[in-house]
Subunit: 202 residues, 2 copies
């Protein structure tokens, strides 16, 4: 499980999608949320849009791997089943979530979560990107800038940090992290049985 | 500091040279040894060949970062100065050493050493590679096979493990590990000062 976090406008979504596109061994976890669907967002691809009641039901029945209340207003959470299915198939799961989600996931599976934080190259650049999202109101932009400061304040909770200056370089860096983590001794399933075969006659 | 270890014939030397060749930010640490120079070996490139007296002098004066007695016969060690110079210049240092060297280095600099163990794809393949080194006597080959079993028995002491089935794939895996480790939050010099600049007006 690889968490890719960043402030809003920091690149976590575009970068995680690019990686899932290039690497067939990875799949993106689609979060569930109670917030309203925005123009252009596709149900089941960007989010699962559910009612507050449905969300609370999923929490109760254990169907949420982790969840959090964001902006004190909306629930965001990770449905458990698709993640477990992908991991069982030997695939890596990318989580495009925030620091709260990362903290919850790390609690649920401390040894299986790798976390990466993408920092913007400068504050101006970040503000510029948020302003350029035409769909958002001034109020929404202001709220996101506040969220951005809050998110950046938590970068120390992440194992890896990338300054997202260049899209291709950042994608390459995240892919290297994925490749490297796959070679961690602890993660190599069956390695001891393999080593046991390394003796004369094999 | 990245340690690349393997049984003799396991590929640590060719792979670390290939990486140093492709990546100008890395440099190979040249070990000192008291064993005899073999045909084709170049002083200062493959090893620094020194007398037992000189080696012991270097240990006493603190000029060895780590050292070990191998085969109960010869000293192998890492001269301190070239390593410190490269690290000061911001370069990564590759160590093509064995489990004893890795253990000593990890003791000297526990947070700065990343260790990778290369396993052969099979015992037969390893024996085959050792037999094909025409320069070695049967006695030497037998000794290396013994050393190989001893080395493999220590693979659990390494953070990353790669089964060296394919040269290019193994080089790519080690490079990914280098790239990833460079993005570890702890290793990013000055990251906190950079994050401090991420606020309105910058």
């Amino acid at each position: 499980m690889l968490v890719l976090a960043s402030p809003p406008g920091g690149g976590k979504t575009t970068i995680s999608r690019e990686i899932a596109k290039r690497d067939p061994e990875t799949v993106i976890s689609v979060s569930a949320t109670t917030r309203k669907q925005r123009p252009g967002e596709v149900e089941g691809q960007h989010y699962y849009f559910v009612s507050k009641e449905k969300f609370e039901e999923m929490i109760k029945s254990g169907d949420m791997l982790e969840h959090a209340l964001v902006y004190n207003n909306y629930f965001y959470g990770t449905p458990r089943k698709p993640v477990e299915k992908a991991l069982t198939e030997g695939r890596d799961v990318l989580f495009d979530i925030d620091w709260q989600g990362n903290r919850s996931l790390a609690k649920v599976a401390p040894n299986d979560v790798v976390s990466v934080f993408l920092l913007p190259p400068s504050w101006d650049e970040l503000a510029h990107r948020l302003h350029n999202r035409a769909q958002d109101s001034e109020e929404e932009i202001a709220r996101r800038l506040t969220k951005a400061r809050d998110e950046i304040a938590h970068y120390r909770e992440f194992q890896y940090v990338i300054v997202n200056r260049d899209f291709e370089a950042s994608v390459a860096a995240v892919r290297s992290i994925l490749e490297a983590e796959r070679q961690k001794r602890d993660r190599l399933v069956g390695i001891q049985s393999f080593v046991d075969t390394l003796k004369p006659g094999n």
